[in-house]
Symmetry: C2
């Protein structure tokens, strides 16, 4: 379509000048002004800000902070009653490469290595220019959370699947809330609050294609369609889409991946739906890789949603223990393979009527997970056992193969080399069973993250499907955007990309020229 954008109006006028309009063929330009996907700008805006941000997770709050620092007036719109989206309930690990903590632990790493990990595990679907910036900004952004936001991290580096080395900082409370709450607190200091229960109905572009504002419903009550009062919010400089992904939207995810039915549990909050993605596509954003929807392999079958299980299954059992197929008593994959490989492996086993368990022992829990062990036990997310025999009885595991597997695994620990699956061997590994009890979690993959989204350029600007050029005054950041993580997002890279690109979008949006 490129190059033809100016011809419509001319073509229409030329046709009009011809002047022959049989009534059956007559259709006036006024008709089009009424069309439902053609959005009249309001004569009066109800509110007006330099930068209008949709979403109050990591990306939206980071954008708000940077935009305010740059002197812009800002409004943050959140459709739910509560702030923080998935960010405030996530696991609180953020990847950073070449950090002081890695240096202290003798771990060699670099942004180049992180980028290589992301692209290798992302099956090369990643947009390399976006990955490069993400990886280069990894330590700077963690440093920023520490120095500017006052976020506290443990001194245990977490290793999620697909990362070549342990490199992920863990918030002190094992949750993204440790960052979101600091973001909110710092924003509060500068009198920046979040407007909850504001649902965005339309993104409004003007005749030149510039985004000028939003049509919203103020006082919206999720999920009641049409609730709240319609208002128009002007964005003098720009709108930033930081609305997150759509993993909770069964109808939309079924289009892109029909395997992800309503029967599958999901780690996301119920508001992680597709309407803003749909709306951005409606006004011309470019869809990128929407069919790549991540299933997290570390969910627990004994709780709903994200819950507490992933902390045990990943940070304890995957790094320091083992994952085992119940029917065979054997490990079935490297516990540090990427999320897709592990989720696929578990689902293949489950589809044949089997199931998988994650096993670690009391000597292998630490930090915030250790603090949460009583709660996990109380909820039945993990169960304690005093022997392999007890585990075998509880989960119908053949005892001899299980014993052999644990013996083999403990040999790999001793030799610091996993002969079975080549898993990265952590320097602090201990033999499995060294300290009783064992803890066991029943693994259940859960829909977790949309790798796909709308295309942004290296400035965070949303590109136009008809021209591949930026849609003036429209930015996106975080899970709303696509292309950074390719086929498989690595664990702890969502917090990273959301914060990095939220900051970029906020800075650049604040630097836009305001419309008069």
């Amino acid at each position: 379509m490129t190059g033809h954008t100016k011809t419509t109006r001319r073509g229409f006028l030329a046709a009009g000048a011809a002047g022959v309009a049989a009534s059956s063929l007559a259709a006036t330009a006024a008709d089009s002004a009424d069309a439902r996907w053609i959005d009249a700008l309001p004569k009066k805006w109800d509110e007006s800000y330099d930068v209008v941000i949709i979403g109050s997770g990591f990306a939206g709050l980071a954008a708000a902070w940077e935009a305010r620092k740059a002197g812009a007036t800002v409004v943050i719109l959140e459709k739910m009653r509560t702030v923080g989206g998935n960010s405030i309930i996530n696991g609180g690990i953020i990847a950073a490469a070449g950090t002081p903590l890695q240096e202290k632990q003798g771990l060699k790493d670099s942004p180049e290595q992180l980028a290589a990990d992301m692209i290798r595990e992302g099956l090369g679907l990643n947009h390399p220019d976006l990955v490069k910036i993400t990886a280069e900004q990894s330590w700077p952004v963690v440093k920023w959370t520490i120095e500017e936001l006052g976020v506290q991290y443990t001194d245990h580096l977490v290793q999620e699947g697909g990362h070549a080395v342990p490199r992920s900082y863990q918030t002190h409370n094992g949750s993204g809330s440790a960052i979101v709450n600091q973001q909110l607190a710092k924003l509060k200091e500068i009198k920046q609050d979040v407007r909850t229960q504001v649902y965005v109905e339309k993104i409004l572009r003007d005749k030149d294609g510039r985004v000028k504002g939003l049509q919203v419903r103020d006082g919206y009550v999720f999920p009641r369609e049409g609730s709240g009062k319609q208002k128009f919010i002007r964005a003098k400089k720009a709108v930033i889409l930081a609305h997150g992904g759509f993993s909770s939207d069964v109808a939309f995810r079924l289009k892109q991946d029909p395997k992800l039915t309503a029967q599958m549990d999901c780690t996301n909050h119920p508001g992680a739906t597709s309407e803003m993605l749909r709306e951005s596509l409606r006004v011309g954003a470019i869809p990128i890789q929407l069919s790549w929807i991540q299933v997290g392999p570390w969910g627990s079958a004994d709780e709903k949603g994200f819950g507490l299980g992933p902390h045990f299954a990943q940070e304890v059992a995957a790094m320091f223990g083992i994952w085992v197929e119940a029917a065979t008593g054997k490990r079935f994959i490297s516990e540090l393979a990427n999320r897709k490989m592990r989720a696929d492996a578990i689902m293949n086993i489950m589809n044949k009527g089997g199931n998988c368990i994650a096993i670690a022992d009391a000597g292998q829990v630490h930090g915030h997970v250790e603090q949460n062990i009583p709660k996990m036990l109380e909820r039945g997310v993990i169960k304690p056992y005093d022997s392999l025999e007890a585990i075998a009885a509880a989960y119908k595991v053949p005892i001899d193969p299980l014993k052999q597997q644990v013996a083999d695994y403990n040999r790999y620990v001793a030799q610091k080399k996993d002969d079975q699956f080549g898993r990265y061997m952590h320097k602090d590994l201990t033999p499995l069973g060294a300290k009783m009890p064992f803890y066991v979690l029943r693994l259940m993959p859960k829909v977790h993250y949309a790798m796909g989204g709308i295309q942004i350029d290296t400035s965070g600007r949303v590109l136009d499907i008809s021209t591949d050029k930026p849609i003036p005054a429209l930015y996106a950041a975080g899970e709303a955007s696509g292309g950074i993580h390719g086929a498989v997002r690595l664990g702890s890279c969502s917090m990273l990309s959301s914060l990095v690109w939220g900051r970029i979008a906020g800075k650049n949006a604040a630097a836009e020229k305001a419309w008069a």
Copy 2:
């Protein structure tokens, strides 16, 4: 956005009624009527038809035939100078399950088995309702090509990768042209021609969202942007999108899969670009699985484009011979694995500096491939050798492993069971090397097909991103639509789906109520 579609206009009027419009905030509805993505309908249409079809491949021509049979007036628009798109240069095999030819050859098959093959190899990304119809219509549509179009097929059933049994009819000349030319001839009999060099600039929807016609450039010269004269073509009943895929569009495919660089060869004609997909998304179609772009494993390194090589590599060497990694002298995958598995395997080997060859012998060629052997030899697409030693010398293959591989393979042929990769063993298999010379082709994967496209319902109607309901009077068929083939289209299922869904779209479009 569902449910809010009526509120825009009301909201605007309400805001207008409030009457307070500071000049800095004033923006009138008239502004929006001018906006470049808001398309005024013309006062006068230059031409008018019941059904307007974009594209002149299998799908477009099948749609035209059915629409004309149903009494509709039809125009078929083709942007290129020549008709037939990729259809007229393709390999001419079409899958059908439970056919007379299979019965004659003692092969058990069913639409259910075909659907199962498509979904298994498509990694479950296929939309099951669309697959079901495609498979059920497979024999009816082949029968239709024979009885109604007069298409001639060989009596050799081809087996492409991922199909459980040989089931694909092969046109007598080994090309899709055998069907396209019959489609064109039958249309000519009813005085239906194809309008070449007509480029579609815009799909025009009216105030109720109905598609009413197109803005085109008549006399367009590919790839000259803006060439030709602007015209407006009215679609009284419907527009059918049958424009094919975008495999030749490097910029667009790089968005969805950055591995598919300009360095990769492509089997498609140069006009297989993205502008109609972009335009349909601009007016509200739903993108489905755009990042799944197929690379054909059977391309030849010694010719450009689709060429002749695939006939030898697939129909001869994959079914009756072997594919070998040069550096090892060994087979590296089942030659009848699906296209993705084979292309990935070859690209992994090539990325390490290696390469792969396809080997068969003179006793294994038959039919149209046999007729083309002289041409392939002349062009250097295949080369003849009198011994394994000669092959080993030419392609730097270690001779002993190669001899061992051929001996092993011939044992599998004798026992009718492939102990190495479990490949389907054709009933007519002969030992490799039974009749000299050997023929060898250098394999080179090439970008081939877009599995993704826009979402259609089971009536072939295009759905709307804001409502999930059909966009009134807009249909799609063939490679333009997505969701049928999932992650991996099986060879010979493109001709099938294009013809099946072209017919469905044509019939249903003709049954639409005309607008006054």
